[in-house]
Symmetry: C2
Subunit: 465 residues, 2 copies
């Protein structure tokens, strides 16, 4: 936890930015796995963490913009619990530790909301964020007297935008936490590289990474991607056997005990030596990844960074005869997106896709920048103008997706810029992605954390050691 003044200041700013009414920020409950009391690990809601910092389940935070008061509502554990759990702080003590003076039971919260419904102030609906868990949605339905189906429709855009405004700019202490998460990701990735030998199974390496994450005292920040079929972007199975000739895509990160995230991807040749074809594609992707970090700076939009990386990819694919025409025309046509249908990156912080629960467009875009309709670029999660303190992932990739190649070829999509005969020679290649986490500084950008082996030489040396 940060010191309580941090949370007090954040809440004060939030009340100022939202300006009116009551703000409800529910913390998470335990999440049942296969029965009520067998839960997944407890993950506090990120918004609750940002403004209240507390890791206990079943807490509800409330900010009153009219009175300037903050509240935490929850039941204390009872004396019988304490025999099993050891001594635990009371709700009042927890609240005080983050500078909240007012506490109450869930019943008191119900009474407060019921009183609000009076037409006196004319603003009966408190501000809340669209819930992403069904239990919180059911709670809000019951608390606010709106149907379960309509809960998300009544979420507050004022609150969303005020939260984005604060959370998108990371403080120095937040950056420190993120670098701590990357330090653990270093152990995860370097260790897994050394295990990437033929005969092993993907799940053995994924298991190693899970263990390293927990040894850092936090969970993984998202389900590990560990696959010799990197071209299958949504691939969370880990059942393949590693064979020489395949590139292994390892996309994995972790969270610190405070739930700040890391998100790193490395792609390595099974067995430890790149062959010529692997090296060719790898160098193209790496050139794009480095270019993105090079041009990232305050004032540029992330859409422009994405396009700078796209130019490098287009140049590379042109040099090996997969694409044709001028680089400008290729990028304008979107032909290169056949090989990278996703965006360059996304914000990262207390969520690996930071604030994704607020709605991607509200986080990655603003009045000035809007998402593209073009294939590939349209998947860019963040297009907005960069500010110092933003943390963004930089993760270009190259994927030979047979079903997509066949679709484009059949439809003639971008056919003036694609040599399908040449392209089809690579259709069994698989995929490569390279990802780091980048801080926008006052003057440019900095790749965060201790450098994780990334060049062909560094990876081959690491895997041989």
């Amino acid at each position: 936890m940060f010191k309580k003044e941090t949370y007090i200041a954040r809440r004060e700013q939030l009340r100022k930015d939202v300006g009116h009414g009551l703000i409800i920020i529910p913390g998470n409950h335990e999440a049942p796995c296969n029965y009520k009391d067998n839960t997944y690990w407890f993950r506090q809601d990120s918004t609750f963490l940002y403004f209240f910092g507390l890791q206990r389940e079943d807490l509800v935070g409330v900010l009153d913009c009219e009175t300037g008061k903050d509240y935490i509502f929850a039941n204390d554990y009872d004396i019988d619990d304490i025999i099993w759990t050891g001594p635990l702080p009371s709700v009042k003590e927890l609240a005080a530790s983050v500078g909240v003076e007012n506490t109450g039971t869930p019943k008191a919260l119900h009474d407060m909301i019921a009183a609000m419904k009076s037409p006196v102030n004319g603003k009966p609906m408190p501000h809340y964020l669209p819930p992403y868990r069904a239990d919180i949605r059911a709670d809000l339905s019951e608390l606010l007297g709106v149907s379960y189906a309509s809960v998300n429709r009544h979420a507050s855009m004022d609150l969303i935008l005020a939260c984005v405004k604060q959370r998108m700019v990371k403080s120095a202490e937040e950056i420190e936490e993120i670098e701590r998460a990357i330090a653990t990701a270093y152990n995860m990735h370097v260790g897994a590289m050394k295990l990437a030998m033929p005969g092993r199974y993907e799940y053995e390496l994924a298991g190693f990474m899970e263990g390293e994450a927990w040894k850092g005292n936090g969970p993984v920040s998202f389900p590990i991607i560990m696959t010799v079929h990197g071209e299958t972007l949504h691939n969370h199975g880990h059942n393949n056997r590693l064979e020489v000739g395949r590139m292994l895509v390892m996309d994995a990160g972790c969270e610190t005990p405070m739930n700040y995230c890391s998100d790193i991807t490395r792609s390595v040749p099974v067995g430890g030596r790149f062959d010529d074809r692997q090296k060719t594609i790898y160098e193209i992707v790496l050139s794009a990844q480095l270019e993105a970090a090079r041009v990232t700076r305050p004032g540029i939009t992330y859409k422009e960074v994405h396009q700078a990386a796209s130019r490098k990819l287009a140049e590379g694919y042109r040099s090996i005869g997969i694409l044709k025409g001028s680089v400008d025309d290729i990028v304008a046509s979107g032909a290169h997106s056949l090989l990278m249908p996703h965006g360059l990156g996304h914000m990262m912080g207390l969520d690996v896709h930071d604030m994704e629960n607020y709605g991607q467009i509200n986080v990655g875009y603003d009045d000035e920048t809007r998402p593209s309709e073009q294939f590939g670029l349209g998947s860019l999660r963040c297009g907005r103008r960069l500010q110092p303190g933003f943390v963004i992932t930089d993760e270009p990739g190259c994927y030979f997706i047979p079903a997509l190649i066949d679709k484009w070829q059949a439809e003639g999509t971008c056919k003036d810029f694609i040599d399908f005969d040449e392209l089809n020679k690579w259709r069994d290649f698989g995929g490569i992605r390279i990802e780091d986490d980048v801080l926008v500084t006052d003057t440019g950008a900095r790749i965060l954390g201790k450098p994780i082996p990334k060049t062909v030489k560094e990876i081959e040396e690491t895997m041989a050691s």
Copy 2:
């Protein structure tokens, strides 16, 4: 997955046992962690696994007891998904793989239920189990037209009892799966023992175990307990530093890819050598654990097995002067339960606490056996008469819980059988628990899996190696 005939036979038996109406068995959805698309690992519902065996999310199984037909309802992935996910089987193909001939969309399920609501058959409510996840509860609320608050009240006791009847007796192929889970638990426990040296933190060992579980290609079967304060029974934090003099309680298991479970506890002295006090308590607990396995056989109730273990504990505590009076009187009074407030064990199978979502009393008890009201014995999760094929954990423990000791002393509870002066000499000891998974055979019982070091000598040798 087992062969499809297994699932066909299980469903046929279920239809026969329930006898009438429609049975709805919803599979699980993905479980959101900190936003909708960042999920915990996918855990299929155990009842769905038992009768339908399929691991995909968003499936709903239906059994019609009137027509003998089985159904699976779900949407197919669409063609755009397939570009990202690679080729995936259709719902029809999935259903066929477990012998289900009829499939439909969620809309078709809604139409089927809507048609059922007609008063013609006079039985408008289908059978379903009480949901333990809020999303499934909301689904059932909407599907059946009952309020969210009342969904669990309408759950079917006929269905619960029919499911218990089948699932409590494990087949040979289920036992094989459970032993596979124990093989991975062996790696988890033996590896962690060797790491249990002063200066390390609990989370490092818990992380090691998480990794070993995933290297076995499955999740942990419950949140790992790894604590030098074993006396705090509900202790899932892992922040303590290991120091010589503390007993480390490691209660952890895993699931196979088919989600059969293991659940093993070992307690080891930090540093690898038991001191005299530790050895004394350890031997008492071990004698109880071995006694329970020794007396377990078909025809005995598990309550009787619990009491046989209790006698060994009482004998031991009497021998060191903590308890006084005759062993029979001590056990009858429940005085020994001050040091073991929980039951001896629980059923295990597709859930680590098997079928706990059905309600503990419906699983662990029956018309013949009812839970005790006595402290300790009343916490016994399973009291019923044992049958060949039951898998039960055998997990006695000894915990010096200062808050509970003080409470009993202040209240004078069982004061004729407890020497509080002697007892208080142990109040900082911590806790010990020893647990194996036991199969009830035709003639007795068998501790499942490759033996994991358990005697003082075996543990000391393992930790020294």
